[in-house]
Symmetry: C2
DNA sequence: ATCTCTGCAAACCATTTGCAGCTCT
DNA sequence: AGAGCTGCAAATGGTTTGCAGAGAT
């Protein structure tokens, strides 16, 4: 149900065909760029990159393509607190959460089974089956002289 | 440093004075209403309630007052996925997280020590001290006939 | 008297949408 | 040919801001 890490574009094309949607130059450029880039990309960042390959691409197309990628399971929406929506490519079923440094705002990904097991129990305790999660934790370097302090 | 549950308004007034800010009819009405209402209130909801007491209150004043409450530690910002920012009163230092039912969107609060202990370790594992968190988990009723299904 | 607030309307900014023309299949 | 797609510009919707008048200390 999710794209293989090896060739997300092939999986993407297969899905488009399945859904009766078209593969276009712009759509492919945007999707390709998206899969190549780091995670946590904003629409603006993706647009800038995509325009290096196809300068006439517009905002609306990037928004529409990302929406499509999310709907089809190739991307995941992330909302941090910078006012923009960001997106992560989703190559397989694995999920991850985020540890954000309050000093330098760098984002560290993690996925911890013990946490998830416990959260499953919490949900169960309220009569629900855990279906998803969105975990942001914030951390700070204990070293006052940390290069990141105040960044 | 945080308001007492008994009399948040007194604490609020004290803080205003400390900061050289003024206590006004509108500000008080909004803050009072905010402390009386349930958690996870949106600006719009708060405005509607506040207008029952003071009909001429405007959007901007509600936004400004909430911003003030957050800055002064009396409220906490919450972003779920409905496009609006919501706010929780913050009566003491306790934090809580959210379990959201994917069927009926009801929001259940929880606070689990085992989860927090484990997250503290995760942060520590990356060289950081845990300073905050924002955890949303999504759950679904296991009963297919649940009244909430499809809600 | 002075400095802060308020209400209104306009401005902002991220995101969405209508539409005419273009591109896939 | 026909359905879907693109780019543009305009619309949207939540949130912020400028300003002139009102209110608090």
């Amino acid at each position: 149900m999710t794209s293989s890490k090896k060739d997300p574009m092939a999986a993407f094309h297969a899905r488009l065909q399945e859904a009766g949607l078209k593969s276009t130059r712009q759509r492919d450029t945007i999707a390709e760029t998206f899969f190549e880039l780091d995670a946590h990309i904003s629409v603006e960042e993706l647009l800038v990159e995509a325009r290096k390959k196809a300068p006439r691409i517009g905002y609306a197309t990037v928004y529409r393509t990302l929406k499509l990628l999310v709907e089809q399971g190739f991307a995941k929406t992330r909302r941090f607190d910078d006012g923009q929506t960001r997106f992560d490519p989703q190559f397989d079923k694995s999920q991850h959460d985020h540890l954000i440094c309050v000093d330098c705002r760098r984002i560290i990904e993690f996925d911890d089974d013990a946490v998830m097991d416990r959260l499953r129990e919490v949900a169960r305790g309220h009569g629900l089956v855990l279906r998803g999660r969105n975990i942001h934790i914030y951390g700070q370097c204990p070293d006052v002289d940390c290069v990141h302090r105040g960044a």
